[in-house]
């Protein structure tokens, strides 16, 4: 048993399955040496990677030199694009490209100046450069596989694994094409030095230059070049293999040379094998030793409709039309212009497309050479295609499923292993364009896979979004809780008694305001409150409620203004900014202040504590005013409608209404006059409501009645009558409500305020919303106003006074009750 290396040295060959022997017709074009055509006027250089991996370095109107790089980019498979000649860029636009679809792709249109001036070239020798430098030079030269697939060569020259065998592909198994044949004959030395570079880079155990036996001259030339070269002896070898299509396929060639099969889905490098085209070897040599980028290639122009068939050096970007024009192209009806060979090439729909790095042949056949297409007939399952298939597939089964568009079934017959060589179509007695079916099926599978991937992606994004929304919601709740806890904590840290006392005081004031009987009940409430304050949370809410009540009360009795004023002012003195803001607010709301200063202060404090800048505060205050007006208006109109569903919001809104709205003096007076009634009404309503909703008496209801009381003018009569009844019940209400109300209200308020902040994501809006538009916040900030230490001090003082007063009141209440 010989080792693989010994067999390689012996020149042993293996059989590759399938394959066909189409008429060669190579003599049409390989009789003369490679020549040059006159320089075209216009070049189309596609820059397909621009936008994905690369950017253009030139703009319209720029002058470029031959070999100048037009793009720059990063990425493993990125290849730069070069100007094929010197001239001016006259356009950068979508232009039809050299592709079976003729779809447009971004291209630079270069108008040649005819000088063909090279840019600066830096020739090197192998010794001067390190391996990474060589690879970079190859990459910068834009060298791609010249066999047709145009895969970036530097990638194949820098494999992850060890390479044992390099095969230089000089097979050229397609009929008609002779570009590699002529290149090997005319430039065998250059190719061999390119092989030397590959050898230097990969350092393989063997390099096999494979040539089909229908090119004896090329094989001889390569052998001579090898003998004269200074490549290490025994490493490089020229192997002649029998002519058969498609021996030039990478996988087929590997099988013929080594007997190994490249596993499906794998690349040859995984077997330690790399295949390079002879044209690539030539281009590598040019890049290293001449410094020239890959801007031209040998193209076979052949077919009976070409006047001067042969091989020509064509700059990349020359249009097919220009190239054909200069070789006396004879146009006929139903003319096909085929890029590549007759087996795998594609017919162009348009000739104004550029020659690309992988374009090895332009075939312009006559009707005699290539028969016009005939209609496909029914498959008779003769199995000839399966015999011819080099990939050992079952083309008739693939066809069956592809035609029925059962692409997944076609895939199960290993459609992806099809190399589209065309052997099956070639032998098909029913003229079925099998390869076309496979291509359609393959692209459908590709699109399907892509859609599946996108669907998967969409699903992930959708789920992530749901998660995000969920998280935001949770965060909101957490924040609300945190805020509540903070308040709670602050309440704890401050003197509970002080707060409680403050509230008691307020309640007491209210009690004083109201008539004698109601005073008694209010005092009850106050004492009740001070007991309830043990739970600070509730206390905070209670405070808010009590304050609101107190406002109403204060409104009603102007005589008590002084005391209330002092307390509420003491609330703000602590904060400098609050002072300023308050001052501003006062100035703004003079009218309102005249009528009821007491109410004015707490509401206007809000923007100042929230926003630090004066400016902002002013702006916010202005906004707040405007918005408050709006809301008030709305509320006023909606009052009746809203009445059944009163909320804490409305309560506070009406507060604002009372404070910020410049209410007419008249109105204010009327309101003041009615205030008594209101207070009575309050008590009355509370009681009646409580009787109705006895199990769940809430602040909401209470506040509604407040609202109604403020806005609606209720008969004094009614109120008085009710007051009498109310007295007794008010006590009950106060006792029952205090605890329950507190909890629910504070939570709803906190939630609402946070919602307000988060529903509107844009940060710029936040302040406005937070400060002005939403009256809900007022309550928050009111409560926040209690937080500052100075205020607490003052509150303590006030509380001490209040306590004394409360006691007095309580005493008097007791006396009265007794």
């Amino acid at each position: 048993m010989l080792t693989i290396l010994e067999q390689l040295d012996k020149g042993s060959l293996w059989q590759s399955p399938g394959g066909i022997h189409p008429p060669q017709l190579k003599t049409l074009s390989n009789q003369s040496a490679i020549s040059r055509l006159p320089l075209a006027k216009r070049f189309v250089v596609p820059v397909p990677l621009v936008g994905e991996q690369a950017t253009l370095t030139v703009t319209v109107g720029d002058k470029v030199l031959k070999g100048q790089i037009l793009t720059e980019g990063a990425g493993f498979t990125y290849l730069p694009v070069h100007a094929p000649t010197s001239g001016q860029i006259i356009a950068i636009k979508q232009h039809a490209t050299n592709h079976p679809s003729s779809l447009p792709t971004l291209s630079c249109i270069i108008e040649a100046d005819g000088q063909d001036t090279w840019c600066d070239l830096t020739p090197n020798s192998l010794n001067q450069l390190s391996k990474p430098q060589i690879l970079d030079k190859i990459k910068q030269a834009g060298i791609a596989g010249m066999g047709g697939a145009a895969f970036p060569s530097h990638v194949k020259l820098n494999p992850a694994s060890e390479i044992d065998l390099v095969i230089i592909n000089g097979i050229e198994c397609e009929p008609y094409i002779t570009s590699d044949d002529r290149l090997m004959r005319d430039h065998s030395h250059e190719i061999m030095s390119g092989v030397g570079v590959i050898n230097h880079l990969l350092n393989p155990q063997r390099i096999i230059i494979a040539i089909e036996d229908n090119k004896p001259e090329a094989a001889q030339a390569m052998q001579d070049a090898l003998n004269r070269s200074d490549l290490p002896k025994g490493v490089v070898r020229v192997t002649v293999i029998p002519t058969k299509y498609p021996s030039g396929g990478e996988k087929q060639l590997i099988q013929i040379i080594t007997g190994k099969e490249v596993p499906s889905g794998a690349i040859p490098a995984q077997l330690g094998i790399v295949v390079h085209n002879v044209g690539t070897a030539y281009a590598i040599q040019e890049a290293i030793y001449q410094g020239k980028p890959l801007i031209e290639r040998v193209v076979t122009l052949t077919g009976e409709h070409i006047g001067q068939p042969g091989n020509y050096w064509l700059p990349i970007g020359t249009t097919v039309a220009d190239a054909l024009q200069s070789v006396k192209f004879i146009e006929s009806a139903e003319q096909k212009v085929i890029v590549g060979g007759p087996m795998m090439g594609y017919a162009l729909a348009e000739l104004d497309v550029p020659i690309l790095k992988g374009t090895n042949c332009l075939l312009v056949p006559s009707q005699n050479e290539i028969a016009p297409d005939v209609d496909e007939k029914a498959c008779i399952r003769c199995g000839e295609c399966a015999v011819a298939c080099p990939a050992l597939l079952l083309p008739q089964q693939l066809f069956w499923h592809a035609k029925a568009e059962e692409y997944d079934k076609a895939a199960s017959f290993n459609l992806k292993d099809c190399i589209e060589c065309g052997c099956c179509s070639y032998v098909c007695p029913s003229d079925i364009p099998l390869v076309e079916y496979y291509r359609v099926a393959k692209s459908a599978l590709k699109i399907e896979a892509e859609e599946k991937r996108q669907a998967e992606q969409a699903k992930i994004r959708f789920e992530t979004r749901l998660q995000r929304l969920e998280d935001e919601k949770n965060a909101r709740e957490a924040k609300a809780k945190e805020a509540a806890a903070k308040r709670q904590a602050n309440m704890k840290s401050s003197d509970k008694d002080a707060v409680a006392a403050a509230m008691a005081r307020i309640a007491a004031k209210k009690a004083q305001v109201t008539t004698a009987p109601s005073t008694a009940s209010s005092t009850e409430t106050a004492t009740q409150t001070s007991q309830a304050v043990v739970d600070p949370k509730k206390a905070a809410v209670n405070a808010a409620i009590e304050r609101a009540k107190a406002k109403k009360a204060a409104q009603a009795s102007a005589a008590r203004n002084d005391t209330l004023d002092s307390t509420s002012e003491s609330v703000i003195v602590d904060d400098k900014q609050a002072k300023i803001a308050a001052a501003v607010a006062r100035a703004k709301a003079k009218k309102a202040a005249q009528i009821n200063q007491t109410d004015m202060v707490p509401t206007e404090v809000e923007p100042s504590t929230d926003i630090i800048d004066d400016k902002k505060a002013r702006v916010a205050a202005a906004v707040a005013n405007a918005k408050a007006k709006k809301i008030t208006k709305e509320n006023q109109t909606d009052e009746t409608a809203l009445a059944p569903q009163p909320t804490a919001e409305i309560e506070s809104t009406t507060d604002i209404e009372a404070s910020t709205d410049p209410i007419d003096d008249k109105k204010a007076r009327v309101a003041a006059a009615v205030a008594k009634a209101k207070a009575k009404k309050l008590a009355q309503a509370n009681q009646t409501d409580v009787t109705i909703l006895a199990p769940h008496p809430t602040t909401d209801i209470e506040s509604t009645t407040d609202l109604e009381a403020t806005t609606d003018l209720i008969d004094d009569k009614k109120a008085r009558v009710a007051v009498a009844v109310a007295k007794a019940k008010a006590k009950k209400l106060a006792q029952a409500n205090q605890a329950d109300e507190a909890d629910t209200t504070i939570e709803s308020i906190a939630n609402d305020s946070i919602t307000a902040q988060h529903t509107e994501t844009p940060p710029t809006l936040k302040h406005e919303i937070a400060s002005g538009s939403d009256t809900r916040l007022i309550i928050n900030d009111d409560s926040a106003a209690y937080l500052t230490p100075e205020q607490i001090k003052k509150a303590k003082v006030a509380a001490a006074v209040a306590k004394a007063k409360a006691k007095k009141l309580a005493k008097s209440a007791e006396q009265e009750e007794h």
Partner: protein
Amino acid sequence: MTSILIAVAVLSLLALVFGVILGFASKKFKVEGNPVIDQVEALLPQTQCGQCGYPGCRPYAEAIANGDHINKCPPGGTATMEKIAELMGVDQEPLNAEAQSSVKKVAYIREDECIGCTKCIQACPVDAILGAGKLMHTVIAKDCTGCDLCVEPCPVDCIDMIPLETTLQNWDWKLNTIPVKVIHSEQEEQAC
């Protein structure tokens, strides 16, 4: 008499044995969750458009597994419906909504007209719209599922659904769709 007893005994024994086997199998080969849901979901197009009346593809898959109609997915079209019918072993039904054209579309925001209201951002089920308040928004085309949901909320109607362009990457090799006019022969040209 004994033969009857034997028969009864044997049958009872068999019943016991098979019962044990079944019990064991139900433990051993227990399938977690309902695999049908996953299978149906895999067939759905994942546009998350909600046109089926469910908030996303997964809930609809669950609904189908529980016997809902299979014809509520316009983005998937008839092809998806047929696949689901095959999977679920139910009859095919005509789509209840007009099936969207099979051409895949993506949303495109005419950026000059966008007022930055963020409404489309909130509507997008896959977060494929980028933008901030009062700033221009744009669609991340590669992540857009073409579900149409952003078109409706736009107050200035600046969102278009445009068909995905054919590129070299997604070209389907259908050669006969390339417009080709056969050139006249020289004789005919001279005659003209």
